[in-house]
Amino acid sequence: MENETKTYTPADYKNGQSVRWCPGCGDHAILNTLHKAMATLGVPPHRTAVISGIGCSSRLPYYMATYGFHTIHGRAAAIATGFKIANPEMTVWQISGDGDGLAIGGNHFIHAVRRNIDINIVLFNNKIYGLTKGQYSPTSPRGFVSKSSPYGTVEDPFIPAELVFGARGNFFARSIDVELATSQEVLTAAARHKGTSVTEILQNCVIFNNGIHNAVTDREFRADRTIHLRHGEKMLFGANNDRGLVQDGFLLKAVTIGQDGYTIDDVLVHDAHTPSNFLHQQLAMMDGTDLPLAVGVIRDVEAPTYNDTLDEQVREVRARKGFDTLRSMVLAGNTWEVK
């Protein structure tokens, strides 16, 4: 029998398969932080399932020592939903890219979030189709030039967080592939959240979309263009941690403490647990231009999960009706006897 008090190391979640992603791909870092997050959580590998769709990131289950299912394009959320309902004791991770999760699988994505099934969706967002060699994705910016948009796209992208809030999601976090500690922190929090968690990781495709996130992730100015949100802490950022977010009417504003009359007291404190998603959405929509791009856990609110509520309903109905077999149920209905 398993030893529930056993502690695990990242190595317990790795298997011996050689990893086939391109050298320099952001997926390597995410894989390592996922192994670490799993060890931190301490859920045994055999109690963990990793389910993916199709795409570069969806190869991830092959590099895990857990139960894994590399399924079909776009459908990982639906498969993970059925899996979790059928076997609620398992911790379920879903690995999807921006194409897999938001284009072909967009419908399953929003419905999984709406149902609040207890799965952890990790969305690798590199704003490109890598495995099919470089077409624009639903997160590529307007005007993006790719093999399938040689003159630039003529459509606007999804912002993943906005979809999550539109689908009334209760957990949204973000990280950047190269920020290992942040990724580990948000993945751990995502797994501890009961209900659907969506963690967007900005990931660099070194071959087809190299540097797509550089405007915010470049070391030179990352501190000024990103903010790490932590529940209960002031919303501060900047190389010297002297910049902060303040309320400006219904909107947010980035200020420098000590300038224009702003003091530390004006800076907002992050509340990830407040049920209203109004401020969460504003925080999640910051893109690193006027306001810093937010990483960390932006929203983490408890709500009834689909799987728990379903199990509860089954228990309640069974106790009330008291049928133990099909026959007992049928005999309780309209029948007649032939002697």
Binding site: P44, T71, G82, N334
Partner: protein
């Protein structure tokens, strides 16, 4: 009507209730069916309803019908009816062609005013003359007025009163066929359990209809229907979709696996979702997903997780599920896919029956992706074949498609409630302990005899593994693009399905086994074909009859049976799909074909004629 009152004794009788789709014809028909079944009659029903929920009132497109045959040796709902109830001119116009010569028509004469006649596109004010119906066969009853009279003192509003017209007609039909009213009252009681005033009103109207029949009986021949000597036991009335749902539950009991349904509403399969949603009281998890693809995919996830996993749909939904089913073929996971076939292609005829999804079931996936296909023969056989689909899926680690259809899915029969002990245990193919202990287990290790891979259920320590849609190495289960390995896996998957033939019953031959002519059918046409073969034999045209419920693989003795006959005829509700499926196995035998693609079941009479014509050639 004839001058003298007679009581006829018939071994079976067919009644067709017809009216506007809002007139409650399905309810009246259902209650008459249940009442007859409770009296020990065999029953077979055919709800024939429009796709529109409420078409314009009184219009030809809005006519809803419910045909039921009750009595002895009932195999079909009947080609034509002895009694036709028509609640309005449109119903009469649409349904008169189903009346037997000499059959009786009951009409609500209050609904035959000139404005009603115009809605049904009659050109004159005399509907009977226009349709060439002899008045002596027509019982013209002021149903609307008599219903109002019966309810005069209840205080109900006019609209609520009019909703009871169907039950007046039911009361009249009950009198006509000598059905005591207690059973019908009981059914009304459960139907209107939460509306006592409506129940009381319907009860009054039921009695009024019955009494009306009694009072005017001098002018109508009444019938008594013989009852059957049925196998002792407890019976209930069941339609094919409910039987399918219950067969799945029986399989869950016999396998010890929790039952999961991932589905999406689609006519005419939705009742399976409805029934299983109710069966949370037996621990069933029925999940209405966001689309057809999510339906099958959630089931695949549940299967990987260790449940008995099912998805239910009709033809268009099966098309959407194709890629998912291919994943289950590749991952070699048990999965039951129920297709309640309807008229196609595309949206086609959503409420009508056909057998046109056979090729889609057999071949409708990318790549070489064989799977098992079975098809229930009757409404009650849906129970047995749903059980069989689960047994094959779980014991052979494969998707199985169950090809039901609108005719048997909606059609009802009396069904003896079985004991669980009448069904075999279903044994999930777990990783054998010794294989696990040896450390040599791999995800695609197979049982040498059946070629079945073992089911390592997530949560089990030591059996962590990865599967997926990519081709796998035949030994290690790791991703492999090796050309020779791929070909080997293609052949292994095919052979695994072929070996299911060792595990299913042989094909039986019914009627005159020694005849020269073999009539063949499959799936939901059993009743009509059996009745036709029996009638042919009775007429001196010796006919053997073989009916397929296992489509892929075919029963092991199939070719032996086919080769025994001089003349082989396949009758099916498509342009010849099953005939083709057989023909490619026996290129040397000429297969005659009887086909119908009208969205309607066969008629026994047309089958008899078609066989006679082939025999005479």
């Amino acid at each position: 009507m004839s001058e003298e009152h007679q009581v006829k004794t018939l071994d079976k009788v067919v009644v067709r209730f017809s009216g506007d789709s809002g007139d409650g014809m399905q309810l009246a028909g259902n209650i008459f069916t249940n009442v007859s079944a409770a009296l020990g009659c065999q029953v077979s029903t055919f709800p024939d309803y429009p796709a529109e929920i409420r078409a314009p009132q009184g219009s030809l497109s809005g006519v809803s019908g419910f045909q039921v045959s009750v009595g002895m040796n009932v195999h079909t709902p009947g080609d034509s009816c002895d009694v036709l109830v028509a609640m309005n001119p449109a119903a009469l116009k649409q349904n008169i062609r189903f009346l037997k010569p000499g059959g009786i028509v009951i009409v609500d004469i209050d609904a035959f005013k000139p404005t009603d006649l115009r809605k049904a596109l009659f050109e004159t004010d005399d509907a009977l003359a226009e349709l060439g119906i002899d008045e002596k066969y027509v019982l013209q009853v002021p149903i609307t007025q008599l219903t109002r009279n019966a309810l005069a003192e209840t205080g109900l509003d006019n609209k609520s009163m009019l909703k009871c017209r169907n039950i007046f007609a039911l009361g009249l039909v009950c009198w006509l066929f000598d059905r005591p009213l207690e059973e019908a009252v009981a059914h009304l009681g459960s139907k209107f359990a939460r509306k006592p005033a409506i129940f009381e009103a319907n009860k009054l109207v039921l009695q009024a209809g019955f009494d009306y029949g009694h009072n005017v009986h001098a002018s109508v021949p009444t019938y008594r229907i013989e009852s059957m000597e049925a196998r002792p036991g407890i019976y209930t009335d069941i339609n094919g979709n409910t039987a399918t749902a219950w067969g799945l539950i029986m399989a869950a009991e016999k396998s010890g696996l929790p039952l999961f349904l991932g589905s999406y509403p689609i006519t005419p399969a939705t009742d399976i979702l409805h029934e299983l949603a109710k069966r949370k009281d037996l621990g069933v998890k029925a999940v209405q997903m966001e689309d057809e693809i999510a339906g099958v995919c959630s089931a695949i996830g549940a299967s990987f997780a260790g449940n008995l996993a099912v998805t239910s749909t009709s033809g268009p939904g099966l098309a959407l599920k194709s890629e998912g089913i291919g994943l289950a073929v590749m991952a070699e996971l048990p999965l039951v896919v129920i297709d309640v076939q309807r008229g196609g292609p595309s949206t086609g005829l959503p409420t009508k029956t056909e057998q046109t999804d056979l090729m889609q079931a057999l071949y409708g996936r990318n790549g070489e992706s064989p799977l098992a296909v079975v098809a229930p023969a009757t409404p009650t056989d849906c129970f047995d074949m749903a059980f069989e689909a689960c047994r094959i899926a779980v014991e052979h680690m494969t998707p199985v498609i169950l090809l039901s259809d609108a005719f048997i899915g909606n059609g009802a029969s009396a069904w003896r409630v079985p004991e669980a002990s009448e069904y075999p245990e279903i044994k999930p193919r777990r990783v054998p302990e010794e294989l696990k202990a040896s450390g040599e287990w791999q995800p695609y290790c197979r049982d040498a005899e059946s070629l079945v891979r073992y089911w390592a259920v997530p949560g089990t320590e030591g059996l962590g593994h990865r599967v997926g849609g990519l081709e796998k190495d035949c030994n290690t289960g790791a991703i492999s693009t090796d050309p020779v390995n791929h070909e080997k896996m293609v052949h292994t998957r095919r052979e695994k399905i072929a070996r299911i033939a060792r595990d299913i019953p042989e094909l039986e031959v019914l009627c005159d086994k020694d005849a020269d002519t073999l009539l063949i059918g499959w799936g939901g046409t059993y009743g009509h074909l059996y009745a036709a073969a029996s009638e042919l034999c009775a007429k001196g045209v010796s006919t053997a009859f073989a009916h397929f419920r296992y489509i892929n693989p075919l029963p092991a003795n199939t070719l032996d049976v086919l080769r025994r006959y001089k003349r082989v005829i396949v009758a099916e509700l498509n342009t010849g799909m099953f005939a083709d499926w057989l023909q490619c196995r026996v290129p040397d035998i000429f297969i005659h074909r009887i086909n119908k693609v009208q969205g309607q079941p066969f008629l026994v009479g047309e089958l008899v004629k078609a066989v006679e014509k082939i025999v005479a050639e």
